[in-house]
Symmetry: C2
Subunit: 338 residues, 2 copies
Amino acid sequence: MASILPASNRSMRPDKNTYESPGWTEIPQYRPGCPQIHRKRSVYVKNPYLEGMDEDILYHLDLGTKTHNLPAMFGDVKFVCVGGSPNRMKAFAQFMHKELRLEGDGEDIEDICAGTDRYCMFKTGPVLSVSHGMGIPSISIMLHELIKLLHHAHCCDVTIIRIGTSGGIGIAPGSVVITDTAVDSFFKPRFEQVILDNVVTRSTELDKELANDLFNCSREIPNVPTLIGHTMCTYDFYEGQGRLDGALCSFSREKKLDYLKRAYRAGVRNIEMESTVFAAMCGLCGLRAAVVCVTLLDRLESDQINLSHDVLVEYQQRPQLLISNFIKKQLGLCDQMS
Amino acid sequence: MASILPASNRSMRPDKNTYESPGWTEIPQYRPGCPQIHRKRSVYVKNPYLEGMDEDILYHLDLGTKTHNLPAMFGDVKFVCVGGSPNRMKAFAQFMHKELRLEGDGEDIEDICAGTDRYCMFKTGPVLSVSHGMGIPSISIMLHELIKLLHHAHCCDVTIIRIGTSGGIGIAPGSVVITDTAVDSFFKPRFEQVILDNVVTRSTELDKELANDLFNCSREIPNVPTLIGHTMCTYDFYEGQGRLDGALCSFSREKKLDYLKRAYRAGVRNIEMESTVFAAMCGLCGLRAAVVCVTLLDRLESDQINLSHDVLVEYQQRPQLLISNFIKKQLGLCDQMS
C-alpha cells in the first residue's frame, strides 16, 4: 500500500457530476388524525456508468440483469445476512426458514448461486443469506455485486448484518461482540481503499441505533455474554493478528501481548478480517449495517483454536440466534421468539 | 495500511536468534565415475515457536500433527498447485490422476479437507491440489498452514505453482501469462506485510529458471498464446483494477485507460489478486514458485466477463495443461505428453 495518502475524502460529499443523488424518496401519507411523512431508504450505487450499461453481469454470483428477473427474485428483501462460511450461511437460512414458519421443508433450500463456487446465496422470505469467503478482498467483491443486485431489484429499507467468528481480547470465549466501530491494525476507525494508484480513506462507522437494538435483543438470550465494542480488522490471520503459530513469526510473545493489550486499551474486544470494508461500503451505499461476531478464544491466552466440534457449532449459532430474534421482532413476530 | 514504512527488511537476513537456519542439507553421494553432491531443499518455516509446540492444529485445513500422520500422508509431495476455485482444483486433480496414469478411477477423488468448507485439497501421487479462495488474506491463511504442513511432513524439493484466472492488458483473451515478477497497484515489485502495527516490505521475486522452464513447455502446446510478463496484484476487483462497473466508481473512463496503459508500459500484462503475497511467502520459505494465469478478457477493451460456459472452461484448462506437461517432464514421463 502506498505511503502517500492524498487528501482524505472521508465525508464523501457527493459530487453531482459523478454520483447519483442520495436515495431518499419522500412519500407523503396523509391519514385522518395521523399526518405522516414516510421515507423509503433506497439502496443506491455510486457509479454513473451503471445507468448506461445495456446488461450488468454479476460474474461471481452467476446472476445478471438480462438472464434473471432481479426485481421479481429479490425485490422484497429487507434483511441480508453475510458470513464467511458457505455451510454456516446455509445452516442460517434453514434456521430462518423454521423461525419465520415458512411453508415447505427448509432442508432442501436451493443455492441461488449454484452455478458458481465463489459464493453461495439462499433466500428465505425477506431474508437473504450470502457467504463471502475470508478477508477484505473476498467480501469486497461480493459486496459490490450484492449492492448492485439490491439496486437492480429496487430494494429499499435493507438492513445488512455480518455474522462471523473472531478472536476475542480479554473476554470469555463464546462471547458475542456487537461492533460499534470497526478499526484497522493501527486502531484507527478508517478503511484505506486503493483506487487505481491512489489511496482514499473511508469511514468505518456502523449504525449505532441498530447496534443498540441488537444489544437489547441479546438481553433476552440467557447464558450468552454479549457486549458492544470495537472490532479490529486485519489483512492476515497470523502475523497481522500477533499469532505465534504461523509459518512466519518475527516477534516475541512479549511483543504480541503488548500489542493485544494496547488494542484492548483502545477499545478493541475482538479481531476478524472483513469489518472495515464492510462498514465502509455499506455506509456509502445506504445500507444500515451491523457486525455481530462470536469469539472462539481469548487471544491473550492462546492462538490455536482447539474447540470440540459440538462447542464450535454451538458458539457459531450464537450470532444466528440473536439475528433471528432481531429479525422476527422487526417483522412483528414477537410471539415466535425462540 | 500505515503510511509509515520502517526500514525495509527486503533481504530478510536470517537472525540466528529468531529463525531456524536455512534448510539446505548436503548429502554426499559418491558413485564410481560420478562424484556428486546432492542437495535436498527443505521447506522451512521461519518461526522459532513452532518447535516447542506440543500440537499444531492447521485449523482452516482441518488437519493437525496429533490427529493426522502428516509425514505418511504428504511426505512424498513434490508439486503443489493452488488456485482460487474449489471446483477447478478438483478438476485439476482428476486431470492429473489421468495424466500420471495412476490406478483407480480419479472421478471419486477424496477431499482431504472435507471437514471444513474453507479450502479443499486433493492428492494425486506427488501432486497436491489446493484451493485458496479470493484475495491476499484468503491465500495467506492457506499458505501459512500449507507451509507448516509441508514442514511437518518433512517434504523437500517442492515446487509450488498458482494456476489462476486474470484480466489481461493489451493481450488476446485466452493468453497465458507466466509471471516473472509480481507487482503491486503502484507497479512496485514488493509486498507490504502488516506485522502487529508495523509494515514490512517483502520481495516478490519468483523463480526465473522455473518460469523459463514453463515457457519452454508452453511451446509444445499449439494455439495457446503464452508469454512471460509482470503480474499486478490488487486488493480489490473493481475500483482497484480500474473497473467502471462496480457499485462504486469515482474515476472516468479516461483515468481508467491511462492507469492501465501506464501499467502496460511498466511491463504488466495481467491483473489478479494473490500473486504478491504468494511470491513473498514462498520465497521466504524455500519453495520454488511460479504463477501461471489465463486471461479472460482484455481490460483495455472491457470490464465485464461475458464468455460462454464452454469458452470459459477451455480457457481455465490452459494453465492446467501447461502445468501437467511440466510435471510429467519433471517426473520423466515425457512419452506421456498430451
